[in-house]
């Protein structure tokens, strides 16, 4: 009786938010590519919007699948998924197709699959399964090490593929560890160290060093109340700066110019194709020109005329900013914030550690993508090339985020049964 009720407890609010975002994304993708003279409609397959519609329909099929499959399936096979993802990440290094310097794609016919996207799901499942086994403590060095390795291994493999941007996303799992009790200083410094290592590959070292000093002073002001803490922060700052300098030294002084170029290209092929800050500048121009209420749907010029690069994928937010102005942009931010908090609410109502950790993994991944993607379009963060979930064009990314979210909703709808199991 109670069980039957529980199995029908789908979180319709989240489902609605999901479809609002996906629909908004579809319209935006059409606007970003819109050519008034071409006469093609939002449905035509020559347009990104037409193809996105296919990804949307297949996503709905995936959702149905996810709900049809027994909820226990995900937890039981979590490690299997993780292992498969691991193998794919290895294989792609050897058999993957090189696109613009990074080897992160499998090509099967006309279909291109990016294992690093799907590995987000299996890593989330793997991590959740590990914590779901019970008695894990973030104070235990062994537990912490294994949990860390679970997401650091795929991160490392993706860096080797030459896709530092996607790799950085895996840092968001630190937020999950924070929720599970990891001391905040460790979260911040761990996040900081790895973030800085990756950023060294992408950004000028002096900007980074200045950024670290500023951050150190801010953190010192907040946390450095005792001598010991201040010392820790100071040491951490010195260590990070030496990491920056040494990585930069290896890049610029040890390697020969052509090797440098190869490394930089490997890490970030699209960072700055036309010179310093072209992407960010054009992206800010597009968004900034939107004004308070925007230019109106399909009336944007900057994205439509290709001034903004990657305007349907990583910079899709520019079209929203340009055509719908500040009002539209903030509406999107609010919807997103609402979705994220909703996921946190779902997470907190779980009785199972597995589902809660998984929920926070979903939240962390979405939050990281959302915050970094929008920050980079408005010049608050370097351009690292990650999509805006549910909005950006692309099958791999839409599928990944759909599967991530709907596995959670499936598990959530069975939360009472899961309680019984334990």
């Amino acid at each position: 009786m109670r069980n039957a009720q529980a199995s029908n407890q789908i979180d319709w609010l989240t489902v609605m938010l999901y479809f609002i975002l996906v629909f908004a994304g579809w319209l935006t993708i059409y606007a970003a590519d819109y050519e008034p003279e071409a006469g093609s409609t939002i449905f035509s397959f020559t347009q990104s919007s037409g193809k996105q519609l296919v990804w949307i329909f297949t996503s709905i099929i995936l959702i149905v699948f996810i709900f049809v499959i027994d909820y226990r399936f995900y937890e039981s096979l979590a490690y299997v998924f993780y292992a498969i993802a691991f193998l794919f990440l290895i294989f792609v290094l050897f058999f993957g197709r090189e696109v613009a310097g990074s080897t992160s794609w499998f090509e099967i016919g006309s279909l291109r699959i990016q294992p690093s996207e799907f590995a987000k799901i299996s890593t989330a499942l793997g991590l959740a399964k590990y914590f779901g086994a019970g008695h894990r403590k973030t104070s235990s060095h062994r537990d912490l090490l294994i949990a860390g390795l679970l997401f650091m291994i795929p991160l490392g493999l993706i860096v080797v593929q030459g896709d530092a941007g996607t790799a950085m996303v895996y840092l968001s799992f630190l937020l999950v560890l924070y929720r599970e009790g990891l001391p905040p200083l460790l979260v911040v410094s761990g996040f900081g160290m790895i973030l800085i290592f990756l950023l060294t590959l992408l950004v000028n070292q002096w900007i980074l060093i200045i950024g670290i000093i500023v951050l150190t002073l801010v953190l010192g002001g907040i946390f450095g109340r005792t001598v010991r803490r201040a010392l820790v922060i100071g040491v951490a700052a010195v260590v990070t700066i030496s990491v920056v300098v040494s990585v930069d030294f290896i890049l610029t002084d040890v390697l020969k110019p052509h090797q440098q170029k190869r490394v930089l290209l490997l890490v970030n092929p699209n960072a700055d194709p036309l010179g310093v800050g072209w992407n960010t500048t054009q992206s800010k121009i597009a968004i900034g020109s939107g004004g308070f209420a925007g230019k109106g749907y399909l009336n944007g010029t900057q994205t439509k005329f290709d001034f903004v690069p990657e305007q349907t994928t990583d910079f899709v937010f520019c079209t929203i900013g340009e055509e719908h102005g500040w009002l539209g942009s903030v509406l999107l931010l609010v919807i997103y914030g609402f979705l994220l908090i909703r996921i946190s609410v779902i997470a907190e109502r779980q009785k199972s550690d597995f589902v809660r950790v998984y929920a926070y993994s979903v939240l962390s991944i979405l939050f990281f993508h959302f915050a970094i993607n929008i920050s980079m379009t408005i010049g608050l963060f370097p351009v690292i090339g990650i999509p805006l979930p549910f909005i950006s064009y692309g099958g791999s990314s839409l599928w990944t985020f759909t599967i991530l979210l709907f596995i959670l909703l499936k598990l959530d709808s069975h939360r009472m049964e899961i309680l019984h199991r334990w």
């Binding site: 008034p36 003279e37 937020l175 924070y178 929720r179 009790g181 054009q282 800010k284 121009i285 597009a286 968004i287 900034g288 020109s289 939107g290 004004g291 308070f292 010029t301 900057q302 439509k304 005329f305 290709d306 001034f307 900013g321 340009e322 102005g325 500040w326 942009s329 903030v330 931010l333 609010v334 997103y336 914030g337 994220l340 908090i341 946190s344 997470a347 907190e348 926070y360 939240l363 939050f367 915050a371 929008i374 920050s375 408005i378 010049g379 608050l380």
Partner: protein, 606 residues
């Protein structure tokens, strides 16, 4: 609830807030992004107007616009394997091709830029059909000046790309680098009328500069306004004939309609074909013409300065009579001993003195003008007389720019008190130092234009209208000068001089200019030239009553004024009045041009 969950939610809300504030800053608070966005997509396209045509007084077309073609290259689309083919079709060398291709590629790979400039239409016709097969090449029509006749370059001037200096001096800020502008002549004088007004259209472009559509539905666009057509006072047929006559000679010919000041013919010789200074060969031809030792770019009628010689005796007579120092019929006995003279000893009045060009007569007359007895000191007396005389000359348009509607007019030179003070010292000179002026020699210098104008003054019996080329601009003649400029001599004195001038032609030094049924009044000059043979000069008008044409002719190093210049002037007069030439032997004589000097021979060998 878990406190860390709350921290995470606060973190999410904070992030949304920070992003919203940042968005507010760039979208609402900061205007620079809106301007930058417009600068990104709006591209101004200039549409050039057609330059106005130029016609002669009978509406014969002189200058028009000729289509030429710029060959544009779009480097992205060029198939380099085609290059052999391309070179063959365009008949250019590999080196030329490479240079053009690299330059265009350096400019922009995805935008067309000019590969070959100003291809004439006959050459274009040859390559046109084959161009279809060449990927990445396209055609952009434009115009250059076209000339119906290889004439009048000294009047028309030419059009060329604006120089950096001109661009810097342009206070109107109308011109842009690469614009064409009238450099000389009518093209420069009436540049504002001829050029029209540029049109502008604003288009939206994508990141590669490809046009995506009109900006703001064309509400900021303006259409080009074509330049205005100009009708000149030049008589094409007369001009053609005059140029033919002056061919192979160094000199000037100016013909004016006295009653209006309209210039009928205007020749500076040697000259050049105006169509040399246009299109793609402009620079090459310009340097050839400019380095020519005979200076074809020197506009002799406006800029060459000669002593007026005996023509000046007409002015001396009138000034003396006006100053009451000479009676119209007063006879003066001349022994011929004051100054070198070809006129016989005897009694002379104005008419006879002009007819025989008596130097001694004008010596005495000029002395009367200069030394009028205002002061006992002859030095001071000379100063007063000289100043009176000089003012008369200025009234005759000597020593000043007449204000012709052509650039670079020269004022000639009328000496002033200061001129002689500098040479001799203050109060240290008098008539005896300046007597050469009495017969138009010495320091005084005039331009051929000023002498033609003198012919008009005599024909009008006392006034002139500023000589000009403009008949009308699109039918509107408001820019044409009409004011009668009086020279300050009583009309009553003119007949005595004019009678003398008639006899110059009928029985004096201008006999070669004599035409039985057309009463030509003229005066020859044989201008002494320290560098070689004398210059031959003639000034006159015809017919005597109701004059239709005033002419001045200078032929350098051609000896006596009556010969080369007089003959040429009479042919122009006959051509204009009668329409055809009856005295073919005079025509032959002038066309053959065998006036006997070395310099002319060198022209012919060129």
């Amino acid at each position: 609830m878990n406190s860390r969950a709350i921290v995470i939610r606060v973190f999410i809300v904070l992030t949304v807030l920070i992003l919203s504030v940042r968005l507010f800053y760039i979208q609402v608070a900061d205007e620079q992004y809106k301007k930058a966005a417009e600068a990104n997509i709006v591209h101004e396209i200039i549409e050039y107007p057609y330059r106005g045509h130029i016609y002669d007084r009978h509406k014969n077309l002189l200058v028009y616009n000729e289509p030429v073609f710029d060959l544009l290259i779009l480097p992205r689309e060029v198939n380099l394997e085609d290059s052999v083919n391309i070179k063959e079709i365009l008949s250019i060398s590999q080196e030329q091709f490479d240079r053009g291709y690299e330059k265009a590629k350096g400019f922009a790979k995805h935008l067309p830029s000019v590969f070959l400039e100003k291809i004439p239409k006959d050459e274009f016709a040859v390559i046109q059909d084959q161009l279809v097969n060449l990927k990445g090449f396209s055609i952009q029509p434009r115009t250059i000046r076209g000339y119906e006749f290889p004439l009048m370059s000294s009047v028309l001037g030419y059009v060329a790309e604006i120089s950096r200096g001109q661009l810097a001096r342009d206070t109107t800020r109308y011109y842009k680098s690469g614009d064409e502008i009238g450099i000389n002549g009518i093209e420069r004088q009436y540049e504002n009328q001829l050029r029209g007004k540029r049109g502008k259209s604003f288009q939206t472009v994508n990141v590669q500069g490809m046009v995506m559509g009109k900006f703001g539905d064309g509400e900021y666009d303006s259409l080009p306004v074509p330049g205005e057509d100009i009708q000149l006072t030049i008589d094409l047929e007369l001009q053609q004939y005059a140029e033919q006559l002056m061919k192979g000679k160094i000199g000037s010919l100016v013909a004016i309609e006295p009653s209006t000041g309209e210039i009928l013919a205007f020749v500076s010789s040697p000259s050049y074909d105006p169509s040399l200074l246009r299109g793609r060969d402009y620079s090459k031809n310009y340097s050839v013409i400019q380095s020519d030792s005979l200076k074809p770019l020197f506009n002799r009628p406006l800029q060459a300065m000669y002593p007026p010689g005996s023509m000046f005796k007409t002015i001396q007579s009138l000034v003396a009579m006006q100053e009451k120092k000479l009676g119209p019929a007063e006879k003066i006995y001349c022994e011929g001993n004051l100054i070198g003279d070809l006129a016989p000893i005897g009694e002379y009045d104005v008419k006879k003195a002009i007819t025989y060009s008596s130097n001694n007569f004008f010596y005495k007359v000029f002395r009367r003008i200069i030394q009028q007895g205002f002061d006992d000191n002859s030095y001071i007396d000379s100063r007063i007389g000289f100043e009176i005389w000089r003012n008369h000359l200025l009234n005759f348009g000597l020593g000043i720019k007449l204000g012709i509607d052509l650039p670079n007019e020269n004022s000639g030179f009328v000496p002033s008190l200061a001129t002689y003070d500098r040479v001799y010292g203050n109060n240290r000179w008098r008539f005896s130092n300046i007597y050469s002026l009495s017969i138009g020699q010495g320091e005084i210098l005039v331009t051929p234009l000023q002498m033609a104008n003198l012919g008009a003054i005599l024909a009008n019996r006392g006034y002139f209208i500023t000589p000009h080329f403009l008949k009308n601009v699109e039918g509107d003649s408001s820019l044409v000068p009409r004011e009668k400029r009086q020279v300050g001599i009583d009309q009553a004195y003119f007949p005595y001089v004019i009678d003398g001038m008639e006899q110059v032609v009928s029985m004096g030094s201008g006999l070669r200019a004599y035409i039985p049924d057309i009463a030509i009044c003229g005066k020859t000059s044989t201008v002494q030239n320290p560098h070689g043979a004398d210059h031959s000069g003639f000034m006159g008008f015809a017919p005597k009553e109701n004059p239709k044409i005033a002419v001045a002719v200078y032929v350098e190093n051609a000896g006596w004024g009556g010969r080369a210049a007089g003959s040429t002037a009479s042919l122009v007069i006959e051509k204009y009045i009668r329409g055809n030439i009856t005295r073919t032997w005079v025509e032959d004589y002038v066309l053959k041009g065998n006036f006997g000097d070395e310099k002319r021979a060198s022209i012919e060998s060129n």
